[in-house]
């Protein structure tokens, strides 16, 4: 019997019938099961009710005078802190009057990211065009200096916009780099294969904070002045490098999981190296490496929070600044909840998109 046939027979063994019937059979079939279910339900109900009471029933939603007086001596959440300080959390230190630019810049990146998830754009030229246009638009809005928009330097970029930009730029530079590294590590020339392997292992053995710290603070000591550039670009390149070495190994695992016959057949047809790689090997490798790739994307999104260590006001750092004033220092739980929700929206969408992709590419259903 094949595995799928076994799975089918297990599915068939599940209880059938009306909802009530199924519930009874699954959760209340014996006295032990019943008591476990009741206790579990009770605990769940208690947790949910307590959270609901704190977050909704006893909560204070807004502060009419902008101070924390309304939250004195309440039992619930003080969402007034979000009501008063949300612009700080979303935009960090970006000049207040110019924050609409930061909003547009952030939306541009998100929209471009969503568009590039749509199959219509899955052509290298279209993707490249889309992202070049996206980044150009992003840059002219956030940086200004044209059309009466005053210049705003990268040290003032912040909040969610910075996190999203940092992530997009890191992944976009990192992904082609990862493909190159993966192919180079599989090169038939030992010098290239060994050097690349060594490079990947060295970068992988360094903590990300060290790489970021070095890129931001140590490189200016050793680089010639024309190569230094702005801190944010050095850090993005360091971040992309770190992403690339991990992603390279994921792609390599995808390539190596392909039967050797694939490449041999392509060779027999007379396809060149680039034709074999781009038409036969990589598409299949990506398909097989999809689950760990999504995993890596999710991890990388959360790793952006580490840039706080070199003084960037990412969304987590601006969250800390939001409760870090005498007025609001008690409300850190509320701010952390809000920031967690932002992370959740992004990471969860990413995961669901991964599921959609797996369906579409029929991953695991060969």
């Amino acid at each position: 019997m094949t595995i799928s046939a076994t799975a089918a027979s297990i599915r068939n063994a599940r209880p059938r019938g009306s909802l009530g019937n199924r519930l009874r059979k699954r959760y209340f079939s014996t006295p032990v099961n019943t008591s476990i279910s009741v206790v579990g339900l009770a605990i769940m109900a208690w947790v949910i009710w307590t959270a609901f009471e704190w977050a909704v029933l006893n909560a204070v939603w807004r502060s009419p005078d902008g101070t924390s007086q309304v939250c004195r001596g309440i039992d619930g959440a003080c969402w007034a802190v979000i009501n008063v300080r949300w612009r700080l959390i979303l935009f960090g230190l970006f000049p207040f009057e110019e924050q609409w630019r930061s909003t547009i810049a952030c939306i541009v990146i998100v929209v471009v990211a969503i568009l590039s998830c749509v199959p219509v754009f899955w052509k290298p030229v279209r993707l490249a065009g889309l992202w070049v246009a996206g980044f150009a638009l992003f840059y002219s809005f956030i940086s200004g200096g044209i059309f009466d928009m005053p210049y705003v330097g990268p040290s003032e970029w912040g909040g969610l916009t910075l996190t999203v930009f940092f992530y997009a730029a890191g992944v976009l530079i990192g992904m082609p780099l990862a493909i190159c590294l993966a192919l180079m590590r599989r090169s038939e020339l030992p010098v290239i294969a060994v050097t690349t392997g060594l490079f990947i292992d060295v970068v992988r053995s360094l903590p990300l904070v060290t790489i970021l710290f070095t890129a931001a603070l140590v490189l200016p000591f050793v680089l010639p002045s024309f190569l230094i550039g702005d801190k944010i670009w050095r850090v993005i390149i360091g971040f992309a490098l770190f992403f690339a070495v991990y992603q390279a190994e994921i792609i390599r695992s995808g390539i190596q999981s392909l039967p050797k016959g694939q490449e041999e057949a392509a060779k027999a047809l007379g396809l060149s190296y680039w034709q074999r790689t781009t038409r036969i090997i990589l598409p299949q490798a990506f398909r097989r490496a999809l689950p760990p790739t999504i995993n890596q994307f999710v991890i990388t999104f959360k790793e952006t929070a580490l840039i706080v260590i070199i003084g960037f006001f990412d969304v987590l750092a601006s969250g800390k600044a939001a409760f870090g004033s005498g007025e609001w220092s008690f409300a850190w739980v509320e701010v952390y909840c809000f920031v967690a929700m932002i992370y959740f929206v992004f990471v969860f969408s990413l995961s669901r998109y991964g599921v959609y992709l797996e369906h579409r590419l029929r991953v695991g259903k060969l």
């Binding site: 060290t210 931001a216 004033s325 007025e327 220092s329």
Partner: protein, 345 residues
């Protein structure tokens, strides 16, 4: 993970700091003037009272006001001449060494290793961070002796642990430490009644008392000072002119307070100086600026735009702020504190 982070940072910092680079005389002021703006420290988040961000994303606080005063001294106004760089604790020294920052004003204490190993130069302290206990009012404790046999909530791995051990051994009382990973957790535990006392810098205690405790009256900060950390402005070693500017800036703020010169009456004072020292300070008698490479009205501009030491204190941490910290040790000598101006001649 935490250890890994520390290890990584230590390694990177070691690379950054090998071969201390000494600044040249006058180099910093020249760089700042060429750039047209002073590069000063902010925080990567917030340090209540010293460097925090208001609802509109603007920096404020005691340290920020000192940055502003320094920029005013150089350019006549801080408006448009001050870049506050958000800076993490770990990043302070490498950023200063690499020239990204001109000066570190970031609640940083004067320690021997910082002073000698890392090619840093300290100004005169501008504040003494007194370490105190806070306790619950219903304990009825009046001095540390009354806390004997009690418990104290502490953030693990900080110098506070050492202060408790040393001070209790020397003063014949004993306290059991209850350790927490973060300040927030330690404070929350104290507020919820898990411990009899909480130990921290008086400014941080005031933050907790006035903004985090359900009722400010329920928390008492004991008067005993366990220790005091001198907080100073930090510069690259070797540029003595820059050190002079920073020292005299602090001195002018204190001297203005001692002589009753405020942002409101500074014009009056300049037209009609009460004594020769104030006349020199405000540039009526020339010389206060040229000797530092600044204009003669720099001290006037600083006081006009930022106020004297007392005005800055009251605005950011004192009676006009939410923290309401007493001057105590940080008062003028004539008021029982330790602050004094250098002699202006």
């Amino acid at each position: 993970m935490k250890h890994l982070v520390r290890l990584g940072l230590a390694a990177a910092a070691a690379v950054a700091l090998t071969g201390p680079s000494f600044a040249e005389f006058g180099a910093t002021l020249n760089t700042v003037k060429e750039r047209g703006a002073l590069s000063c420290t902010g925080h990567n988040g917030s340090f209540p009272g010293m460097a925090e961000v208001d609802d509109k994303g603007n920096w404020k606080g005691f340290d920020i006001d000192l940055c502003r005063a320094l920029a005013t001294a150089i350019f006549g106004t801080a408006e448009g001449h001050l870049n506050i760089q958000s800076t993490s604790w770990e990043q302070r020294w490498p950023s200063l060494q690499s020239g990204e920052l001109d000066v570190v004003i970031k609640a940083s204490g004067w320690t021997m290793s910082r002073d000698t190993d890392t090619a840093l130069q300290f100004s005169r302290p501008y504040m003494l961070a007194g370490i105190h206990y806070a306790t619950h009012a219903d304990n009825g404790a009046k001095t540390v002796k009354d806390l004997d046999g009690g418990t104290v909530c502490i953030q693990a791995g900080t110098t506070m642990e050492r202060y408790v051990v040393e001070h209790s051994a020397a003063n014949g009382y004993s306290m059991e430490s209850v350790k927490y990973d973060t300040t927030e957790a330690a404070k929350a535990a104290f507020i919820s009644g898990r411990c009899d006392a909480y130990i921290d810098w008086d400014l941080q205690l005031a933050v907790m008392r006035n903004t985090e405790a359900q009722d400010p009256e329920s928390v008492v900060i004991l008067p005993d000072v366990l220790s005091a950390e001198p907080v100073a402005i930090i510069m690259r070693q070797g540029d003595d002119q820059w050190v002079d500017i920073n020292n005299w800036l602090l001195s002018v703020l204190i001297m203005a307070e001692e002589n009753g010169v405020t942002s409101k009456n500074v014009d009056e004072m300049r037209n009609n100086p009460p004594n020769p020292a104030v006349a020199t300070m405000l540039g009526v008698t020339p010389g206060v600026g040229t000797r530092l490479g600044l204009s003669d009205d720099w001290a006037y501009n600083v006081i006009k735009e930022n106020g004297n030491y007392a005005e800055i204190w009251d605005r950011d941490v004192g009676k006009d702020s939410v923290y309401k910290v007493e001057r105590s040790t940080n008062a003028l000598i004539r008021d029982g504190g330790v602050l004094y101006p250098l002699v202006m001649d």
